[in-house]
């Protein structure tokens, strides 16, 4: 074996990105909708799943299904091993320092709620402030509102400019002695804006304020390195990165996680229980009460492996090409206005068409086989900022092609034709 040359995979050079080959990994893409080939451009809502993910889940149930961290029997051992291997895979995917910093949760929403309800409840008091940005998804607004309401604290919101970029100098002005935590999205699901997270963290840390990053949209679109970002918490969702629904990851720095009270009580999160006192388990189990979503965790592991195989840099470059192409193609259609034109942007093309409501755009595109999202994208404050009720949003995934962007542009022209 030692004489065999290393394959490109082993020396971590991803093969050239071949989108047509990649598409074959996603059975759902091979179908017609209303008689037209499906063009799936709703990836910011959820991504399709490669065969490898489906097979991993099926194989687990077929061969290894068992509860983890409990039994001494073979199946339990296999299930535990597979589950914990995903923790290590997620650690590497996010470049966390230690696998105990990886907490499995239902998704980004639960990850943010966990931090708000543990770190937040312990550290935010009356008169204190939580700072977010005007770009946030409702899942990075409402958990903080709930916390502020309970504690008599105040939610502050850093503004964005007309391109949909965070106004960093205004953000910095809002950081003060009362600010107890900052929560920002890495990549806006409504506009595609990439926030300058490293800069945000630097500003917050200069005042000893921890930063939570909502990474739901960034994780499937670019390499993420939590140590380089130096953020304190980073939350992601499996289903937005080609994995199953119902599973996600919360990364947290050990020092913070250890000081935080548990989120939920139950089995697995304890070291010992008597009616007088319960001693909590060590990290990460302190935050994983009850039997977890084992099968989907294993599915997430397969998704991470799939993404690693393609290479996040390659995926990032492919989607950057699609977005640039789509921006010029769609932006050139008379009557179309792009919403969100940040210099640093990825994955998302939000637009409106003069007098045509996004809902009508969505229906007509659907008849062309094109799946886009229309509405406020769970980011109503963003819509209010641009004084629009909704947008139509095309969001790209690793399997989309320039040909599909052409189909989108043709579909939008059809919208104009139908609506007169």
């Amino acid at each position: 074996m030692s004489t065999v040359a290393k394959t490109p995979h082993e020396i971590h050079v991803a093969p050239a990105f071949d989108v047509q080959k990649v598409r074959k990994d996603f059975p759902v893409l091979d179908q017609k909708v209303h008689g037209k080939p499906l063009v799936y451009l709703d990836n910011a809502a959820t991504t399709q799943k490669p065969l490898a993910v489906m097979e991993a889940i099926e194989n687990y149930y077929r061969h290894d299904n068992s509860n983890i961290h409990r039994g001494v029997h073979a199946l339990s051992e296999r299930a535990t091993e597979a589950y914990e291997a995903v923790r290590v895979a997620a650690q590497k995917f996010l470049n966390a320092a230690d696998s105990k910093e990886i907490i499995f949760v239902r998704g980004t929403t639960e990850g943010i709620n966990l931090v708000a309800q543990t770190y937040g409840r312990k550290n935010v008091g009356p008169g204190d402030e939580v700072l977010i940005t005007a770009l946030e998804h409702h899942s990075n607004i409402v958990p903080w509102q709930l916390l502020c309401e309970e504690k008599g604290a105040k939610l502050r919101v850093a503004p964005i400019n007309d391109r949909g970029e965070l106004r960093l100098e205004e953000f910095e002005k809002l950081l003060g002695p009362k600010t107890k935590i900052v929560a920002v999205g890495h990549l806006s699901n409504a506009l595609g804006t990439i926030n300058p997270v490293r800069e945000i963290v630097r500003m917050a840390h200069a005042r000893n304020i921890p930063v939570l990053v909502d990474g739901a949209q960034a994780a499937p679109r670019m390499p993420v390195d939590v140590q380089s970002l130096d953020c304190d918490f980073y939350a992601i969702s499996g289903h937005k990165m080609y994995g199953p629904t119902g599973i996600g990851v919360l990364y947290g720095k050990t020092r913070l996680l250890e000081a935080m009270p548990p989120y939920q009580g139950g089995g697995d999160m304890i070291a010992s229980v008597t009616f007088d006192k319960t001693i909590y388990n060590r990290l990460p189990y302190k935050f994983e009460a009850g039997t977890p979503n084992i099968a989907d965790t294993i599915g997430l592991g397969a998704a991470i492996e799939y993404l690693n195989g393609l290479g996040m840099e390659q995926i990032e470059a492919h989607e950057a090409d699609l977005l640039t192409y789509a921006t010029s193609k769609v932006g050139a259609i008379p009557g179309v206005q792009l919403i969100g034109t940040a210099h640093e942007k990825a994955g998302v093309l939000s637009f409106v068409m003069e007098d045509i409501h996004p809902h009508d755009i969505g229906t007509i595109l659907d008849r062309e086989g094109i799946a886009v999202r229309t509405g406020h994208h769970c980011a109503q404050p963003v819509m209010q900022r641009f004084n629009i009720p909704a947008t139509a949003r095309a969001s790209f995934g690793l399997y989309n092609t320039r040909g599909e962007v052409d189909a989108l542009a043709a579909g939008i022209r059809k919208v104009r034709e139908v609506m007169g």
């Binding site: 409501h357 996004p358 809902h359 007509i364 009720p389 139908v418």
Partner: protein, 148 residues
């Protein structure tokens, strides 16, 4: 394409661009809001009910072509009707757009242009939003109604 044409008929497009009775009524004695938060459609329906009849009706708000045209044509149809008659039109219109009609929807007059909605189940909520707001207004319900 033909289904799309059925949905977006000229009359509907015309009403969506130039909605009738598009105004708040100063003398309204009934009003209600229809709001579909997921898609953002948001209308207020104003009624002036005198001697049991809708003597005047108006609406304002924003929404897609289907919801706006439906609201516009609703106001045209219901002016001068009693509350009971309005309820009856509501039921027939609802049957028409959901495709659950038993034939009663046939005398809807101009409103029959909304028959195409039944091929687009996701758009029924748009076509019926203003109608549900109307019903809430007649019944004096204060909470905004939703069809989502």
């Amino acid at each position: 394409m033909s289904e799309l044409r059925e949905l977006y008929q000229e009359v509907i497009l015309e009403h969506s661009k130039k909605p009738r009775n598009y105004r708040a009524l100063d003398g309204a004695n009934h009003r209600a809001e229809g709001y579909n938060p997921l898609c953002g459609d948001h209308f207020t329906v104003y009624l002036d009910v005198k001697d049991g009849k809708i003597s005047d009706i108006g609406f304002q708000g924003s929404g897609c072509a289907i919801s706006k045209a439906s609201a516009s044509m609703m106001t045209q149809t219901l002016k001068g009707k009693t509350a009971a008659e309005a309820e009856e039109v509501f039921t027939r219109f609802h049957d028409l757009v959901t495709g659950h009609g038993s034939g009663s929807e046939q005398d809807l007059g101009k409103l029959a242009v909304f028959a195409g909605v039944s091929e687009f189940p996701l758009r029924v909520k748009c076509a019926t939003l203003a109608w549900h707001a109307l019903r809430a207004a007649l019944r004096g319900e204060e909470q905004a109604v939703s069809t989502e």
